[in-house]
């Protein structure tokens, strides 16, 4: 897949080779800014689409730069695409995500309403991340529900190993 840049962006990128001498040539702030923005677009879009080396080279070749610059741009892309992709993944809409779980086994022995009890309970502190903030929620459950939770979630984990899911994963690549 080839990356398509607009006329404007090509122009801006074309200024890049000359920016090394920006101070001496007195190239305007605008030109520098546009150049940087165009470069950013090039790298971000390439990372977003996860285009291959060859496709990247072909896309850039169309711009008519020198071989040296093309090589430089390719290297820039290869060096940074993983990090760029990781940053872009943070932008997706998200629910709070799991961070950690702490638990504590308690046995209630008495309360104001009833003495001489033996009531086991599992107290759980669930740590979640949302938009950079960490929240912790204290929850409780009884032994039988705990076992039920474990059973249900183990079934969930097992799903990825089924033929159905495996087939989908294979065909998506």
């Amino acid at each position: 897949m080839l990356l398509v840049l607009s006329e404007e962006q090509r122009e801006h990128l074309g200024c890049l080779p000359r920016l090394g001498d920006a101070g001496k040539l007195g190239v305007g702030v605008d030109a520098v800014q546009h150049g940087v923005e165009a470069l950013t677009y090039l790298l971000t879009e390439s990372s977003k689409l996860a285009i291959s080396e060859i496709d990247f080279q072909d896309s850039v070749h169309v711009l008519g730069f020198s071989d040296e610059l093309n090589k430089l741009l390719l290297q820039l892309y290869l060096d940074n695409r993983k990090e760029i992709r990781s940053i872009l993944s943070e932008l997706a809409p998200k629910l709070p995500s799991y961070h950690n779980l702490e638990w504590r086994l308690d046995v209630q022995l008495a309360s104001r309403s009833l003495r001489q009890q033996i009531k086991p309970a599992m107290t759980i502190k669930l740590h979640l991340n949302q938009n950079g903030d960490q929240t912790a929620q204290v929850l409780q459950t009884d032994p039988s529900t705990l076992l039920h939770l474990i059973q249900q979630l183990e079934q969930a984990l097992g799903e990825m190993k089924t033929n159905h899911c495996r087939r989908i994963v294979r065909n998506m690549k």
Binding site: K48, L49, A50, R85, L88, S89, L91, A92, P93, K94, L95, P96, S97, Y98, N100, L101, E102, W103, L105, V107, S111, R112, S113, L114, R115, Q116, Q117, K119, P120, A121, M122, T123, I124, L126, L128, Q137, V138, L139, Q140, T141, D142, P143, T145, L146, L147, H148, L149, I150, Q152, L153, E154, A156, L157, E159, M160, C165, I168, V169, M172, K173
Partner: protein
């Protein structure tokens, strides 16, 4: 707060219509108090009998009271045990497995993702919005591992 003493429908009971309502209310309150105290301390028949003897009830009435009490003893214990504050109680869990393909910011993400929802109940009001969160396969494995540790410790504790 849960009201253990039911509404005073005894005031409408045809068998009791000749009795002064104020006296009736006092009797009801006294009986209810006695029952709740007995329940709270898990009193046995002899303890209740002694108490009622001190209140100058005759043998026959004490017997009847104790018989009725014993019929409802277990239900009473459950109700009394359920009164009180506790953290949000997890009652159930549901999950969803999805395979992410792309976002508008990032294409070809290709990874499985779980959405887990814990159904929770409030000890006071009953319902409460569920706790939902997403997690990767590794995170879910971590979660399940920790829950299993908790279950193991529970098992060990019951064997002590």
């Amino acid at each position: 707060k849960k009201c253990v003493i039911s509404n005073l429908s005894i005031l409408d009971d045809p068998d009791l219509k000749d009795i002064d309502p104020a006296v009736l209310k006092h009797c009801h309150a006294a009986a209810a108090t006695c029952i709740l105290e007995a329940g709270k301390h898990k009193a046995d028949k002899s303890a209740i009998s002694t108490c009622l003897e001190d209140c100058k009830l005759d043998r026959e009435r004490i017997e009847e009271f104790c018989t009725e009490y014993q019929k409802n003893e277990d239900a009473l214990e459950i109700i009394l045990g359920s009164i009180g504050r506790s953290p949000l109680h997890i009652t159930d869990v549901s999950w969803r497995l999805e395979y992410q393909i792309k976002t508008n910011q990032l294409h070809k993400t290709y990874q499985p993702s779980y959405l887990v929802t814990l159904n929770v109940e409030n000890s006071d009001s009953g319902s409460h919005p569920d706790v939902s969160f997403s997690c990767t396969m590794e995170q879910l494995q971590d979660l399940v591992g920790k829950l299993k540790d908790a279950a193991k410790s529970l098992e060990r504790a019951t064997q002590m």
